[in-house]
Symmetry: none
Subunit: 257 residues, 2 copies
DNA sequence: AAGAGAACGAGCAAATATGAGCATTATTTT
DNA sequence: AAAATAATGCTCATATTTGCTCGTTCTCTT
């Protein structure tokens, strides 16, 4: 049990149960309470939790920054979400896709669909990994925005990307977000990313948000758009019934994959 | 068990299990811990993983890296040409790269060079595969042109790509061509590709053509530019002496890798 | 309000991991 | 074949991590 897995375990525990206890963690992770305290100190310095006497509690805002500690995401739901999204896209459509694991799954599902037109779809994306996967597919027309690659990410952003999007009209925009709040709408961690999402939504006749259920209770930094500008949300079965109800009230069609 | 297969094994392991352990890797791969540490150091410098004490953990974008570390080597000479080209590029330069196996090798060599500035280079490219390989590297600034992916190719072309290039100035353009004729100059097979090459050359202070020796006697459809607009040609030792001589007479510096 | 008991942080020593330097061995390159 | 270059393993001084102790601080009960 090395330090990193310990920190991950601590964060997992605190996310699940809402608090952690020094003595209990020490026993469970087979290390001394001193070590646990040092771990908690470090995590609290990174604003990932707040110390209390005897343990720690979560901080209000879950920053996107330290992905280092995030546990391996369960691809299961994302694949299902991706399939459900693909089913919503009509043949021959011009589809905009932003970056992210879920949108990547949507792209894969689109690519695997039997071509009914030629090209089967036109895909417009700012995500290098999506473009890289789709470029070999015969029956897809692939358009990339220009732009500067964000560090630690596969997405292109910046003025060059905006310029490209300004010249394109989309039938459907498929946007991945970091959080979807019933009150605030779609949010992401970064303002450049937000701008790309916003432009895609503006240029599209239909805007589809993909967000696994963890995103419905998550928080993020920058708002992309209010719920009113979203046509469809595709999420997984883990979504809370009240969250779904509130989003539906705002006029968004919610698809549970 | 050579270095590359070791690095691939490390990345595979870290993708599967979420972390790697120096001691365990050393035992499994039958090398000393020192070697493992050196491997991990290199991979972390390229941002393909993050060091911890005792091992390493994945970086954020490692989720489904389409481009593994493996270098599907495009041939001995092309690697050498790539290295020679990289040696011609000054630290911190803004470098334009078109698509092709040889330019890809040049990009790899640039990416592996120890960073002397920050960013070490700014890379501008219309080749999706090059962007895909470079996007994770911390010390590179990566700019993609927009554009439409040509079928069966990794290159973006069309008006969107031209628009992007019109906004950018390059220090060095590294262009791959299909043929380099002492009389006619640089030629490629496709007019879209020719246009991209032409624009890059126009925007650059220095134009470098990469062409293995087979290209010197080849023919191609569209002319990119006459020899007079080329500053450097990098080719391999198979180049015919008379061809080289004629190209040198036109004022082109010829580097034989 | 006062005291008991738990939790805390600082300091210390042992165990382990690390990076630099160097000699040896592979692998290219000439 | 010889020389140059790169990769590897080893050693050693240095870093980090961890568990422990101890004086202090906090919390809860009386």
């Amino acid at each position: 049990m090395n330090r990193h897995s310990r920190l991950t375990a601590v964060l997992d525990t605190i996310t699940d149960s809402g608090y952690v206890d020094v003595a209990e963690l020490a026993k469970r992770l087979q290390v001394s309470p001193s070590t646990i305290r040092r771990d908690l100190t470090q995590l609290s310095q990174q604003n990932l939790l707040a110390r209390t006497h005897g343990g720690a509690v979560p901080t209000s805002v879950n920053y996107d920054l330290p992905v280092r500690y995030r546990r391996a995401s369960s691809g299961e739901e994302k694949v299902r979400i991706g399939r459900a999204v693909a089913a919503l896209v009509p043949d021959g459509a011009v589809v905009g896709l932003t970056g992210g694991t879920t949108t990547t799954e949507a792209a894969r599902s689109l690519a695997e669909r039997a071509p009914a037109t030629d090209p089967a779809f036109t895909i417009v994306t700012n995500a290098i990994n999506i473009a890289s996967e789709l470029t070999v597919r015969r029956h897809l027309k692939l358009v990339m925005t220009g732009g500067v690659a964000r560090m630690h990410s596969f997405e292109l952003t910046g003025p060059l990307a905006y310029d490209t999007l300004a010249q394109i009209d989309l039938d459907v925009a498929i946007l991945g977000v970091n959080a979807l709040d019933p009150t605030w709408g779609a949010k992401v961690a970064d303002e450049d990313e937000a701008q790309i999402n916003r432009l895609m939504a503006e240029r599209a006749r239909t805007t589809i948000i993909v967000a696994d259920s963890s995103k419905l209770s998550a928080r993020a930094f920058v708002r992309v758009c209010p719920l009113g500008e979203i046509d469809v949300l595709v999420t997984d079965a883990g979504a809370g019934a009240d969250d779904v109800a509130r989003i539906r009230e705002a006029g968004v069609r919610v698809v549970v994959a």
